[in-house]
């Protein structure tokens, strides 16, 4: 028995290993990861870890002993460089070839690099090494320019402002958080950024780094001691080229994690699953989705049964911005109908399409998010959802 080889030792990969053992899988389980660190949790990298008073290490996903206790073989600091699906094997960077009965692709995503933006003052924020480097730079106050008003950029902007930095956020789109929330609702999330003096500029097209900071396409220069590029993420699927699985903005999967190739599965940021609740077939870069997908794939592999309900939970995401908790559940589109309310403390936004509720956003209202998530799962109609929201925000 060749067992299960999992490539990518982070949230999705570790969750697959855990799910396999929980479902009684007895064969060998191998977890191959390019990073040399024991698998850790990524969300704190742009939150707690950037603060001066927090420990420099993010929480481990599992203690070292867990891997031994569960007979999960860890191959850390090793990168898969090629898939040979016809031979049921993956090749590692040192030339070793691992054969498998099942392969799980869990290689996640990496920070998008922008042309013209490089040099020693330019940072990205994806892994522990990136976060430690940025944390070190933040120790001495200065001027930070964040490119991109997405969640990671806004979290880092908040952390830097709390550490005394002067922060400018430059965003090409006309509003913050457009990619996830569409054009209308992001404003609810950046109230505190504005109140704390962070300079948020929209419609700002950045051309390149220059000695003084960054130069915009209109020629103007924004001075900076450090630049953080928060321009989204791209899936780590390059190593699969020619390997025999279909890749199209992530490894294409059904609602159970099966790829185009029998015996090959994928989960997490690197995968594009079909969601049975929303009907969408999109890649999501969210903690909960990575975990849910991994659990489903593991169960299917261990039990040999990919029947039953597939991935049907509404995608869910949270973010911490200053002392505020932002939570979002579902799928919004640029042209969704949006209903928003703010009561001085809490914010709630609903997103709808036709007669259907399709997403819920809350700021500092976790209870409403929990209830809203339930409404999504129950496929609540738009009118009923708005009536609920109005009452809830009174």
């Amino acid at each position: 028995m060749r067992g299960v080889t999992i490539v990518g030792a982070s949230l999705a990969g570790v969750s697959v290993a855990e799910g396999l053992r929980e479902h009684g899988y007895q064969g060998p389980v191998r977890l191959v990861g390019a990073e040399r660190h024991l698998p850790y949790d990524r969300p704190p990298l742009s939150k707690a870890l950037l603060r001066a008073d927090e420990p420099e290490d993010p929480p481990l996903l599992r203690p070292r002993s867990w891997y031994d206790d569960n007979e999960v073989e860890l191959l850390l600091g090793r990168r898969a460089t090629a898939l040979e699906a016809d031979r049921s094997a993956v090749v590692l960077d040192d030339g070793e070839r691992l054969a498998w009965d099942h392969l799980v692709i869990a290689t996640g995503s990496r920070a998008r690099r922008l042309p013209g933006l490089d040099g020693p003052s330019v940072h990205h924020l994806r892994d522990l090494d990136d976060a430690r480097r940025l944390r070190g730079v933040l120790a001495e106050p200065g001027r930070l320019v964040v490119l991109g008003a997405g969640f990671i950029g806004l979290e880092a902007a908040a952390a830097a402002a709390e550490r005394g930095w002067t922060v400018t956020v430059l965003e090409r789109e006309p509003a913050p958080l457009v990619r996830v929330l569409g054009p209308q609702a992001g404003a609810l999330c950046v109230r505190t950024h504005l109140a704390r003096g962070i300079d948020l500029r929209f419609g700002a097209a950045v051309a390149e780094t220059c000695p003084a900071g960054v130069r915009l396409e209109d020629g103007s220069v924004v001075p900076a001691d450090a630049v953080l590029v928060g321009a989204g993420a791209v899936p780590n699927t390059d190593w699969l080229s020619g390997g025999g699985v279909e890749v199209d903005d992530g490894v294409v999967c059904d609602a159970h994690g099966r790829t185009s190739r029998p015996g090959v599965w994928a989960a997490g940021d690197a995968a594009r699953w079909r969601n049975e609740l929303t009907g969408r077939h999109r890649r999501v870069e969210q903690w909960t989705s990575a975990r849910d997908q991994a659990a489903l794939a593991a169960r299917a592999i261990a039990t040999g049964d990919a029947g039953g309900a597939g991935w049907a939970g509404p995608p869910y995401f949270w973010s911490d911005l200053f002392e505020h908790k932002v939570q979002f559940c579902g799928h919004a589109e640029p042209d969704s109908t949006v209903w928003t309310a703010h009561d001085g403390r809490r914010s709630l936004a609903l997103f709808g399409r036709g007669e259907q509720l399709e997403a819920v956003l809350t700021v500092d209202a976790p209870r409403l998010l929990g209830l809203g998530r339930r409404k999504l799962a129950e496929r609540t109609g738009w009118a009923e959802a708005v009536a609920w929201a109005k009452e809830a925000m009174q």
Partner: protein, 61 residues
Amino acid sequence: MKITVDLGRCQGYANCVAAAPDVFDVDDATGKAVLLAAEGDAAEIREAARSCPVAAIGMEE
């Protein structure tokens, strides 16, 4: 069944509310989880415990 929430760890992510809405709630004022019931659907509660990003939920069956 014994369900516990370590409020020192809890960060109010409400993953538990989504997983087991009859058992967990989150207080909007404190931002911490609240137990609504001493027991409930074991599979849902196990899912809540597993989906908590800070592993604040304990369960003994």
